[in-house]
Structures are given as structure tokens and as C-alpha cells.
Symmetry: C2
Subunit: 356 residues, 2 copies
Amino acid sequence: MTLDLILIGFGNVGRRFASLLGEQRDRLERQHDLGFRVIGIATRRHGIAYDPKAGLDLERARTIVGEGGTLDALSSRRRAGDGGTRLTSALDLIEQASHRPGARPAVLVETTILDIAHGQPATDHVRKALRSGCHVITANKGPVAFAYRELHDLANAAERSFLFEGAVMDGVPVFNFARETLPGVQVIGFRGVINSTTNHILTTMEHGGEFAEALAEMQAAGIAEADASLDVDGWDAAAKTAALVNVLMNGTITPYDVRRTGIGGMQGGEVRAAVARGERIRLVASARRNGDRIDAEVSPAPLPAGDLLAGLSGAQNAVVLKTDLLGEVAVVQLDSGLTQTAYALVSDLVTLRRRL
Amino acid sequence: MTLDLILIGFGNVGRRFASLLGEQRDRLERQHDLGFRVIGIATRRHGIAYDPKAGLDLERARTIVGEGGTLDALSSRRRAGDGGTRLTSALDLIEQASHRPGARPAVLVETTILDIAHGQPATDHVRKALRSGCHVITANKGPVAFAYRELHDLANAAERSFLFEGAVMDGVPVFNFARETLPGVQVIGFRGVINSTTNHILTTMEHGGEFAEALAEMQAAGIAEADASLDVDGWDAAAKTAALVNVLMNGTITPYDVRRTGIGGMQGGEVRAAVARGERIRLVASARRNGDRIDAEVSPAPLPAGDLLAGLSGAQNAVVLKTDLLGEVAVVQLDSGLTQTAYALVSDLVTLRRRL
């Protein structure tokens, strides 16, 4: 079976996804009867390409964007001069791609940069795609943190898939883990370390140095963004916490409902004093049921050295699920990188294929 | 869909599986369209019951065996005096259950006590069931440690399922984790702590005391068997290692191919000296590719305190998978007990249902 993909966002993650798909093409065909064509790409600064007939040349698209050019020239509609309107937005591309007569539903692959205060523009893209009859896979935490219930119901009503494994811990499965391998098990709470930048900073502070130096080191190494405030203030972790609550605990919260304390005020001495008394300070994300409510929180906490979360250093992440039948079960991401994030999208694509 | 089950082995695990099935009946029906009847039970010392028409009364069977009685009286064939031969063995029961005209294939649930030197009688039961057209789910590591390739091929040829999630880490998924949630990812090696008794003993020794005392404590608490030599000598861990190698790395080894050192010779002083220098001694199971071969080993090793495996205390287990696309990924079992083991069989039953 061949799936037609449209990529919204073609930055580092989108481009690595495209190259990983290429590398995995034979395996996907052989093991999962999964073929693919990319028929559309929409970017914010490098134009939009759409060719629903022949599909796009991914290698060429990657080269063009890598060199700072525009994708517009790849579009069949413009080349052919067939009178089609020029595509001017991602929503436009979704609209076009969902009106291919007789074709199988297209798959939106959403990897745009997130405005974490509003979960946009990803949420609008996902909503539009599901309403237009497309399937959606995304590495973006925004839609599932801000609008999971709505989008989930929309997908169900339209008999389409909405998948987002990469929203937490990149390609290391946590949503698939609970859904596919723990049938009949109820998740009654969780705790985890799910933001890499803050864990890097805390680990660096344990070995000497102050917050500002540690952050500057991360930024120089390209690990933290130039504006790291979303990580440092706990926003990124809060968004992921909301995603976990909504999906695994059937919650209906947004990141604003997560009680949140960042690590911006932490002193190196404080971090090292914890080490001296056999503890580690980690930015812990957690949730638990409290009657009808779900209490969710992100805050720095001293953990005994033997705690699984205390042992995570640098970019390592983990989620410990508290369950009814199995007690506590954890999934741990020990390595991270662009390939891991891109792989999350590949695994979603395989999940989608298995459902079809 | 209603599945007909035959239980071979009705000890603690088999009986807890039966009661857990009862507790989960509504959820399984509603969420997975999975109903069940138990039509046969074969035990070593409490007789055999078989009623392919009405199914067996599980509560009554549990009570009878709990009180030390025999199940023979539950059999319809004997009650009805219809001239049927009396069932005299588990193999006999499998044979009978596989010849129910017009019925859906039966599901063998194998939970007998294992002779770990030969993987028996579980391997014979599984082989017979697959050859007779039954599906198989088992909490036994024997078949997958000693004969995975043969049984896997047998199952494939017969278009039947052979599932064994409980063979390693009870109901905490490691086989399903790799198969269902990491499509396209190659496991190139692993390391883990997968025997609870030895980890308990090592943890106890860290806090003072010698090997013999620690073992006696485990036995008094019912955590270790009266004959704990299979755990202590690393046999249990070697069998699980072979199972992981065969399934996750496409190997064809038996527990005899695993280089094995137990913890029998360890001194308390040695264990505590490791703690004093910031390390922990753990019985580590590991495997890695070495050209065309797979090197597999079980042996006590000093680990730095920050190592995920070093942090496991008591009955906690973990497997760290080394993969091509995701680097290292770990699954951790933080709690254990009979329900966890029984749940492994429930999850296998759901996996089977999804495939049908």
C-alpha cells in the first residue's frame, strides 16, 4: 500500500524524517507493506511545493531548502500552468491534498515550530487536516497538550488516525507503550524527567558552575535554544505533562492547568548540596488522581540517589507509570538526537499502516 | 469473539490468571471484544478436567485445587458416562481439545513448573499444541529459551500464535515492546538485571550480612524457592537471556550457550566494598553481536552507581536495549508479584485476539 504524505514544516526534524524514510524504504516495504510518496511540502520561509500526480523529489527538496532556496518551482501546478491557483499557505495545501478524486486519504506530517503558549500553528493544521479527511502524524506536543480530546473525537468521527508518539521522549515509545503493550491496565499516575535542557543544566551544575554558565554551555553546544526560557521555566515539561495526562489518564487539561515551577532560580550551591547529602535535584513532572480531578505538576525536587529519575543525567529522559495491575513500570530514553525525533514519525506511520 | 482456553498447570500462576481473567471480564469484552471459556485444565497432582460443551466452572476449580482435591469430577465425559476415554495427561487434553468439530482453535495457556535444564515439560506441551492447531500463550521461559526457532516456525506454518510475554520481567512488556512499538528498529544488543532472587540477595548483602543469611531471609519470606540454586547459579537469568537473544536478536541459542557465572561465591565484604567505592554489584545479563555470532553472558559485575541497572534494588528488573536508530532504550519493572506474572498471560491473550 502506498501512502501519500504532505509535510507541513520542513526544518531539521522534517528533513531528517524525509531522509530516514528514504533509508528505511526497503524495510518498510518488506516488513510492513508500507510504501510512500511525498506529494506536498509547506514551509514558512522556503515556499510550498505540491505535485499530487508524480510526487515530489525529496532529495531535491532537501537540497533546495538546505541551500536556502524556495520549493515553489517543484510544484506541478505552477509548472504546468494549468490555471490552478498558487498555494499560499499550509492550510491551502491541506485543502488541495484532501480533494484528490479517488485517492486514498493523505497523511499530514506536522513538524512546524511550536508557539507553546497556544499550541499553534500545529493545532490549526491538525484540526484542518482531520476535518478534511486526512490522517495526521506529528512530532509536535502542542495539539495533544492543548486540544487532545477535541482532535481525538474529530479523528474518531472521521475514522482517521491522529498519532503523536514524538510529543514526549522523541521516538522512545510512551503512548504506544501504554496503548499497544499494556491492554487492560489503568494508568493512575506518573512521574518523569521529560525536559532535556533542564536536566543537562542540573547535571552540569552538579559538577560545578552556576546556572548561567551551564545554560551558556548548552547553547554553545547547540543543545539548548538561544531562547531557553520555555525549557528553564518548565513550559516545555508542562506541555508534555498535559499531553501525558490527556492521553494516558483520560484527562482534559492544558499546560496552564499544570502547577509549574522552573529551575531559573536555582543556585549551583543548592544543587551540589543535594549531591553532598546523597540526593539529586531533578525537574520532575508528575500527575495523580485526586478525586475527580487530576493534579499535575512540574517542579524541581530533591530525589534520593537510588531513585530511577535521579540517575538520569544530561539529555536522558524517563517516564515512570503508576498502574493498577503492574505497579510502577518505567520507560527510559538513554540517548537522544534528531534521528530519535524523526523516528517517532516513522513509527507513527507504521502504526497508521497497521490500522488501515 | 469467545476463545476456548485449556490451562496446563494450575498452580499459583495458573490460578491467579484464572481469577484475574474473571476480574477483567467486562473490560476485555468491552475494550477488545474478547470473551473466553476455560474448557480444560490439566494438573500434575490434582487431576484433569475437560468439558468442551459447557466449559468449566473456574471458581469451583480454584476452590477444589486450593483445598487439595481433584478436578476429575468436573469432566463432562466422566460424568456423562458417554464412553469417552478418561484423560490421563496434558498431551491427551491438548489432543482432545484440538478435535472439537467446527470449533475455533483452542488456546493453550501453559504455566507448568519448569525443568530449566531441558525446558520441559513446557516445550513438549507447546510443540504438541501448535502441531494440533492450537494457539499458545505461556509464562514459561523454557520453550522460548530452548526451542524458539522451531516453535516460531511451527506457529507460522500453522497460522497460529505463540506468545510468551511473561518469560522475562513478568507482565512488564519487553517482547511486545520491541515488536509492537519499535517497528523498523534493530536490536543490536542488550544488558539487564532479570533475576529477582539474586538481586534481592545482593541488595541485602549491601546492607550487611552474608550470602547464606540473605538467601535464608528470601526463603523465609517466600521470595526465593527452597532450592534457589537455579537462581543463584545464574541458570534462570541464562534462560531468560537465551529467550531475549532468540526473539529480539534473531538468535538460535539455548541457555547452555550463555557464558554463566553465578553469585554463589560472593562474599558480603566484596559487595559492600563495591558500595564503598561508589559502585554496585549486580548479576548482569547481556548479549552483543560478534561477527556472525552472538556473545551472551550472565555474570556479577561492578557497575557505577549512576548506571540504571545499579539503581535496581530488591526484586526490580530492567532490560536496556541497544538499538540502531534509538541508541539505548530501557524498560524497567519496579514492582513484582503474582498479579504481574498472571497479567503477562492476559496481555498475550489480548495480543492474540487482536491478530484474529
